[in-house]
């Protein structure tokens, strides 16, 4: 998992060699976000993000160090130090006493300064230190205003994450999700909302009194496709995020659903039942031509694309119960992918095409999120929450967000691909469902 960091690897090897099985249930409350670290063999790397300095005349709305700490903690790779345990609060290099940090077993240290600049600008300087090597790894400066401090914090998290793991950070991405809020007698207000990757700053991008479902990001991050019942029947719409402009794609008698953008952005895989029963089709958005992909009297639905655009993963109950299949588009060769469990659906591949996240029901008869390693065939059930659905994977494969139930309320949950860290996103008003993680943006 780690690309570099010799001291990290040595700690890892030490622990594996001594066969330490860490079964800890540690809850860490950070402004409504409760992270539960479940069992794991490897010890997460201890990191401390020291509060950033600020000597401006006005109060800052956001605590950058707190956001960075929460970002890194959610990945399950890092164990973040609580502020209460910090013995010193360095904000520049000459205040860093490595011995203090070694005593608390901290391996990496993040410090920073926020400096007021002209015209309400704020300069943010941050540094990353390797405590064991007593070496500075990163020093950068960014600037912004009060309104984009969260963006700056996520940028800092991305830089640190990439430096420590070699993998591009996904903290500066967005998520969309659907909410349903009841009001009055049998009336429901449906909304499509967009928020930061940690659930903060939600804004409504669409609302209506008929259901919305299946939001899907185009790979360039500029538009969404989704299903709306505003016409009284399910139809697929494309919404351009910058302008809010919407376009209804041609809809047919029966089902119109499950839109999935091709990697090149030129096609949508969709589900139509116009030919007698639900089948997967590919709509070419340039020519508007429709190609039928499946030909079976069973239900074929929930298509998603492989990263190379050459095959589609989809759900089919042609074998009796819903299972996941893969069709190679150039040859139309079909193979079944899932064999474990009596219900597997809604498959989504990681960006490297190696892992398949899905909704899975096994012998316990409960719907969970599971991941199948397509190389080895091994299936791991990741969640123990209830009625889980709609898994969506961060573009760097680090975390899966999904919809679940907390009591009678729909909420969003998160889990790392190896199942070692689970969290529930802060509750929002209404019933939350169907998260969709953006690609890398900009």
């Amino acid at each position: 998992m780690f690309d570099k960091g010799k001291n990290v690897k040595s700690v890892f090897h030490l622990l594996v060699a001594s066969c330490v099985l860490l079964l800890s249930s540690l809850t860490y409350a950070e402004s409504d976000l409760a992270i539960e670290i479940t069992q794991g063999i490897d010890e997460p790397t201890p990191v401390a993000v020291v509060p950033f300095s600020w000597n401006g005349s006005f109060a800052l709305k956001e605590d950058i160090a707190k956001i960075v700490s929460a970002d890194l903690g959610r990945t399950g790779l890092f164990k973040m130090m609580n502020r209460e345990n910090m013995l010193s609060f360095p904000t520049q290099q000459d205040q860093v006493y490595y011995r203090d940090w070694r005593v608390s077993k901290t391996e990496f240290l993040v410090i920073g300064r926020q400096i007021p600049a002209e015209g309400k600008q704020i300069k943010v300087e941050f540094e990353l230190y390797d405590v064991l090597k007593e070496k500075r790894l990163l020093a950068e400066r960014v600037s912004g205003t009060q309104d984009n401090m969260r963006d700056i914090a996520h940028y800092i998290s991305d830089m640190i994450y990439q430096k420590l793991t070699g993998i591009r950070g996904a903290f500066s991405t967005r998520i969309v999700y659907v909410t349903a809020q009841q009001f009055g007698e049998g009336k429901v207000n449906y909304r499509l909302k967009m928020a930061d990757s940690d659930g903060a700053r939600p804004i409504t991008i669409r609302q209506q009194s008929e259901p919305l479902m299946s939001p899907a990001w185009a790979r360039d991050g500029s538009k969404l496709a989704y299903v709306s019942f505003e016409s009284g029947k399910p139809a697929i719409y494309i919404q351009y995020l910058a302008t809010g402009k919407r376009e209804k794609i041609q809809s047919f008698r029966g089902l119109n659903g499950a839109p999935a953008w091709s990697p090149d952005g030129n096609k949508l895989a969709i589900v139509l039942s116009k030919d007698g029963n639900p089948e997967v089709y590919i709509l070419d958005l340039r020519s508007r031509s429709l190609a039928r992909i499946t030909h079976h009297y069973g239900i074929d639905t929930e298509p998603s694309w492989s990263p190379d655009g050459q095959s589609l993963i989809f759900t089919s109950d042609r074998g009796g119960q819903p299972q996941i299949y893969r069709i190679h588009l150039p040859t139309r060769q079909l193979e079944r992918v899932t064999y474990e469990g009596n219900y597997n659906s809604r498959g989504r591949l990681t960006q490297d095409g190696r892992f398949l996240a899905m909704v899975h029901r096994g012998i316990d008869n409960v719907f969970h999120i599971a991941v199948q390693d397509l190389k080895t065939g091994r299936l791991d059930v990741l969640t123990d929450t209830y009625l889980d659905e709609s898994p969506t994977i961060a573009p760097n494969g680090s975390i899966i967000l999904y919809a679940t139930q907390k009591g009678v309320k729909g909420v969003l949950g998160g889990v790392t691909l190896d199942g070692s860290v689970r969290f529930i996103l802060p509750a929002v008003s209404g019933d939350v469902r169907e998260p969709a993680w953006s690609p890398y943006l900009q």
């Binding site: 089902l255 589900v271 639905t301 759900t315 819903p322 659906s345 719907f367």
Partner: protein
């Protein structure tokens, strides 16, 4: 498969007998659920659609919500009788139109449940056609799990959500 063919034959026989008997249905004491108990938008439902011949009162007391067992798209037998009467009404009133709205309970994935809802609506549509309605009088729409009748995570809620709602529409 064979069982449902037998059922269809019986239903057909019964409905033929009923039509031949030409009686107005005064015997429906079973009110069941009415269309008004849904929480979705009503697409131009108009109880006084003024169809000629028999009046809407023939069907006003009939069950309009039909339920299904888990993972099944076969109408439960206790709905056959009223469905046959709806079919007979449609057969006698070519101008009458219905929308069949299919639903699924919350378990499983949403798009798959859209397909399940449609399967159920189509099953009711076939039943009506076998019993005299014409395909041009019937439209089917699926709402999957998106419009539950009851919110809840137990079989008592789920069983009420696995349903098809029959609604008469004005043209």
């Amino acid at each position: 498969m064979r069982a449902s063919n037998v059922t269809k034959a019986v239903a057909l026989a019964l409905s033929v007998a009923w039509v031949a008997g030409c009686s107005t249905s005064g015997s429906s004491s079973n009110t069941g659920e009415t269309a008004g108990s849904n929480n979705g938008s009503t697409q131009g439902v108009n109880q006084g659609s003024g169809v000629s011949g028999s009046s809407m009162s023939d069907v006003a007391n009939l069950q309009t919500v039909f339920y299904f067992d888990f993972d099944k798209s076969v109408v439960k037998a206790n709905g056959f009788s009223d469905l046959e009467k709806h079919a007979a009404f449609l057969a006698a009133n070519p101008a009458a139109q219905v929308v069949l709205e299919g639903h699924a309970d919350e378990r499983g994935t949403r798009e798959y449940n859209m397909a399940l809802g449609e399967r159920r609506a189509k099953a009711v549509s076939r039943f009506l056609q076998v019993n005299g309605a014409s395909a041009s009088q019937i439209e089917t729409v699926s709402f999957g799990e998106e419009k539950p009748q009851i919110l809840g995570h137990s079989e008592s809620s789920w069983s009420q959500n696995r349903r098809v709602e029959l609604k008469y529409v004005s043209r």
